[in-house]
Amino acid sequence: MVFAISTHTDTHEPCGRQHPEHLRIRPGDAHAVNILVTSAAGTNGDGYGSILAFTLDGKMLGAFGADSGITDPRGLRVHPDGDRVYVNNGDDRILSLDPHGRIAAKTGPIANLNPGGGNFGPDGRYYIGSRTARTIMAFPPGLLGSGKAILPSGVVPFPRGFALAPDGRLFLASGTSPSGDGDDTILAFAPDLTLSAERFVDDTQLSPLDLAIAPNGNVLVSSEFPSGRRMQSPPFANTTPGVASSYASFRPMDRWASASRAACALGLTATSTASPMARSSPSILAMAASSAPSPDWTASTGRQSSSFRYAERNGICSRRTSDGARLNNQQHAMMNVNLTGIRACVFDAYGTLFDVNSAAQRTQDALRDKWQQFAEVWRAKQLQYTWLRSLTGP
């Protein structure tokens, strides 16, 4: 199963040379998981314009899905059933991909959709932030039709990430544009989408970027402050729903902030098990949460995977365009799946159970540095001879 991360926060702001876009996970599973990162292209991030897969430890597996229909992907989400990944595509379409990254369904092009982040709602529909219309739109799971705006166009001047609670409430992060339009706040909407709180959190130090719902119902917020000066911000906050507009309910996570002063949490995902994950610039951060059930579900520390940094330095940030194209053509990662109904495992022998290099390695004294090359030729010849014998008949 997959765990998709993308780093978009539904902002229009330039992200520099980063390109992982959002962060999303399949609920209920912390194992057999890959992380998918959208790598935006062009003005959205100057990246690969593809979806990249990583192990949880941050090892890059390659591009996920080689379908040419995947272009400039932005936000993405794994369907709650775990068998589809929904992708907000740069060509004004929404895609759904199968576990091999092939397009299983897609909308037609929708004028000015310009989709940012995406979330599944408790009603099963897929919701996306439309950057141009500055609203949130809902699509049926089969992606038929052109979507329905569920909030007025231009609901706030500078919308950012959003989250849907299991009870149907909608939380929308609002920021301030470079020209000063908009308010730094979180809006809350009732399940019937009437505005229930213009300031769900009344805190002047908060400039929310992305939101996620923690397993206990708390609203997690990645934040910058002051607006536009992320490096100095307490990047991760935790609010308790039901105590709207209460300063006391908002708790900047000081320890987390001090542990990562140089990092800024942007896109955000709550996992159902323990660690929320955030995309900082330009890495992915896994944050340890308190393990005991806690009404606060506080994030306490951030851990940045060194291999992620390596992957990004070598795979995402530093090499793009031609190298990126080669990567897309030659590599893809398969989403791990759970197989059921298996009653036997049948193994290939040589190279699978038995280490074919171990034979040549024993000749190392005689062959010295040539032993690996020798092993490869030996193995290749064996295979060639089996094919020759098959082709030439009994």
């Binding site: 398969m334 799946v337 290939d348 190279g351 280490d355 094919w387």
Partner: protein, 138 residues
């Protein structure tokens, strides 16, 4: 070729097979190698007791990826192809076994690039230890 009779198993092999057996699954080998080579390797690796069958193509006079070779496992284990998880480190073998109808896990030990042929394995792992989780053996 004498060295091929004394090949070592990868370090996780014995433990993985043991846990599969404990989970109630049958385990078998299906190889292009000859019975002599295979039995020597199995003995040398000390995994004979963990295998329900060691199947060689020799009696068929044809090699993987010819479909009748994969059919041998179906026939000898008396299971449908869909109840069998086939595991290979060779990309060509994994993709071909998927085309035959097995569930397939590609143990891509050496980070080969994916094949550009139609059928894609169900999953890709780096070592056999990762197999257990995917087929639900704790």
């Amino acid at each position: 070729m004498g060295l091929y009779l004394r090949l070592g198993a990868y370090p996780e092999v014995e433990k993985t097979l043991t846990r599969l057996k404990a989970g109630g699954l049958k385990c078998a080998i299906l190889s292009n190698g000859s019975p002599t080579m295979l039995s020597a390797s199995v003995e040398n690796a000390g995994i004979a007791d963990l295998l329900d069958a060691v199947l060689s193509v020799e009696e068929l006079k044809v090699y993987k990826p010819y479909p009748t070779v994969y059919q041998l496992a179906v026939d000898r284990l008396s299971l449908k192809a869909s109840a069998i998880c086939y595991v290979s480190s060779n990309g060509w073998d994994a993709y071909s076994a998927k085309a035959f109808g097995f569930h397939v896990i590609w143990c891509n030990r050496s980070s080969q690039v994916p094949e550009r042929i139609p059928e894609t394995p169900d999953a890709e792992i780096r070592t056999l230890s990762d197999l257990l989780e995917i087929i639900g053996v704790a």
